[in-house]
Symmetry: C2
Subunit: 203 residues, 2 copies
Amino acid sequence: MRNGTKSKKEARPRGRPRGFITSEVLERVRDVFLAKGFAAASLDELCAAAGLNRPSLYAAFGDKEQLYISMLRHVGEKSVEAMDAVLSGPEPIEQRLGRIYKGAIDIYTKPPNRPGCIIVGTATVEATSHPAIGATANEILAGFEKAFERGFIKSDLKPLPSPAERASMAGAIMTATGIRARLGVPATELRAFTRSMIPVICR
Amino acid sequence: MRNGTKSKKEARPRGRPRGFITSEVLERVRDVFLAKGFAAASLDELCAAAGLNRPSLYAAFGDKEQLYISMLRHVGEKSVEAMDAVLSGPEPIEQRLGRIYKGAIDIYTKPPNRPGCIIVGTATVEATSHPAIGATANEILAGFEKAFERGFIKSDLKPLPSPAERASMAGAIMTATGIRARLGVPATELRAFTRSMIPVICR
DNA sequence: AGATATTTATGCGAAACGGTACAAAATCAA
DNA sequence: TTGATTTTGTACCGTTTCGCATAAATATCT
């Protein structure tokens, strides 16, 4: 027991404990970034939503770009988990895909602000000025495609197009849906679109 | 000749003539909006790029949002013209589609800033705060799909999926490509993606 | 020429921006 | 209790932002 009694839970750090939970803060700033985008979201709004003062936010997450990237990663991880939960199910792949798209559209068109997909809807515009944001968004989208691919592998579709090709197509449909939702296309139209695409992907 | 000699050219307006050409200004501010997005593009940058002073820009186009929308419409019209020129050609539809995507990718990945598609890449994020921008972007995307549809009608593909369905799929592929280009996906990968999607669309 | 109309140019001014310095508060180690 | 360490709150700095007020410049119409 030389190196400190780590006990079960890791020893509490030295100084004053934090008055917030990281994941909660990330989910609150997510709502601000969703509504305004990265550039138009001010630190005042972000701090107010997070319930933190500015120096606390900075000490915990770094500057605005790093905070945004942390939020993106958080959203991405939770999304992939949710996708895997559905895509590993026992139903035929067409049905699993339908549930993925339906769930996505529900989120994308949630009133009152039809926010669309936060990744393609808010990260894309910043990618030219903030390459790290573009790279992060790309990683997350690649993660989505990998999740789709796992779903296609677990299916009895013909081997061609390959699961990877089908996955990249499913991802493109998802991307386009997330964009069009934010642009104001109503949910019914989005659902009709994804429903008509599924048989094409699974041909 | 009562109502004034309108001659051929309409009579010049009364006061001092403008020192700029509307389409040129729109194409110069387009470059700024492409690089920075709507929110992060400052009026100083826009004026400098346009070669106009601030009050001139305001008198000619209104505020920043109206200027941006005028620019979007300008880009949209020229794009549809270019698409129709290709899509009405004599080649098989697969080949016409390939040329459309190749041309788009060339623009989307142009160095040094891989700007992607200005419509889905910069308008989308603003749609929640500026509904007029979202509506305009949607109109333009619908115009793209109509152009695709005209191309599919002029082809000897099977009647199902319908030309409209094929067009919405082709549009989704275009959208996803424009997004991923801005996010940093290299041109070679984008070309491989669209090339693999064409046979699926034209099945 | 003189009056009228429109566009240019300079520059301002109030507000909002991102980021940080500094001291008070809260906890742990000894 | 005393000192070390981390978080919190207030207040501020310099810069940049958008939009406009005002006056000079350039054209047509009478």
